[in-house]
Symmetry: C2
Subunit: 215 residues, 2 copies
């Protein structure tokens, strides 16, 4: 930001197959810049042990979820394994009006819908690929709470997810967490420096011209 | 870069009024990544003391400069204060074929021509603004070798140059050299991570799919 006017907030879309490191990247990004607002998804699936309403998800029954969609309250939504997931619109518009970025941890369907939404021109999308499928499977198996059946389902979904990699602006191969995060920070830093994301520059250059006149 | 195929080389265009820090940024960028190729400009102006042919400029007389332009050997060229300046095309194409970036230290006319050239889709342009005109003038006056008349001419040209700031992809206000350089590095790092600049990703994802098949 250069001047009084806040910069335009970004819609930062992060997608990857389960286990490729998306959630770790999201967490690191929020720790790096606490002004970034994380878009908490709404869902109709039941809370898992320890999941907090409004923190991990906004938990809804099917009727109230449908009502939100019908009233335009969702920026995007999709059905996955029989449950609905979506990104509430109001917090995103609030963040943008404050010049703050919103981070979306969504799958390719969510990414497509955000890009195609009315706010899509401020979307920046990043796809994270695993270094190999063997590594992806190892990371999924490391999550002790999931059954073999759940893991098999995730692997099938991973393949589907990866098939959409070419729809994203940026692609990172997550070989090493710190390197990948450094790349992600560079992307966010650079996107904030785009001319059209710095509306305050108009006033700044006007002041430079006033200074020229006064010489 | 992810794989065997080299990434697409960038045409990194750096413009700013004289004294805003463009040459310092260019030097720091080359030191940070020696694979970046600096585009040495061709000119018809006479060498200043200490200037080396092929290092600071390619010095030409008007006839040989015109012959180069006529044969398509210049990516861009323009007349400034009665002298011609231009960017030879061959070294840029050579660098791109090796997946290396080329750095252009050019004015707005050069920037426009590179963006509009056949290689323009790989151009990334950065404009550097001074924090104030007073500061810009101080920096120009600090260059002992220039007369008051030369400085006055530069200030007029600076105003003209600044009037083109909005044609650039990225804008940096150079308040503090290290901060500005960190931003510039982020821009170069991010632009290299764009999906369409990493042709090797196609093979990489094909290998991931082969691995899925083999499970």
């Amino acid at each position: 930001m250069t001047h009084g006017q806040p910069r335009r907030g970004l819609l930062l879309i992060l997608s990857s197959p389960s286990g490729a490191g998306k959630s770790t990247m999201a967490r690191m990004l929020m720790a790096w810049d606490p002004t970034i607002r994380f878009s908490v998804s709404a869902t109709t699936r039941k809370p898992r042990p320890g999941e907090v309403h409004g923190q991990h998800y906004w938990f809804h029954d099917h009727d109230s979820f449908r009502a939100l969609v019908a009233s335009g309250g969702m920026l995007e939504h999709a059905e996955v394994f029989g449950n609905f997931y979506g990104s509430p619109r109001a917090p995103v518009e609030q963040a943008m009006s404050e010049g703050r970025d919103t981070l979306f941890d969504v799958d390719w369907q969510g990414g497509q819908q955000i890009r195609n939404s009315a706010l899509g021109k401020d979307a920046v999308s990043v796809f994270i690929l695993p270094p190999s499928i063997a590594e992806l499977e190892n990371r999924l198996k490391g999550r002790a709470q999931d059954s073999a059946e759940v893991i098999a389902g995730r692997m099938a979904k991973s393949r589907d997810e990866i098939s959409h990699w070419a729809e994203y602006d940026y692609v990172l191969v997550n070989r090493e967490v710190d390197e990948t995060f450094a790349d992600l920070k560079a992307i966010v830093t650079a996107e904030r420096l785009r001319r059209d994301r710095q509306p305050g520059l108009n006033d700044f250059v006007r002041d430079l011209n006033t200074e020229f006149e006064a010489r």
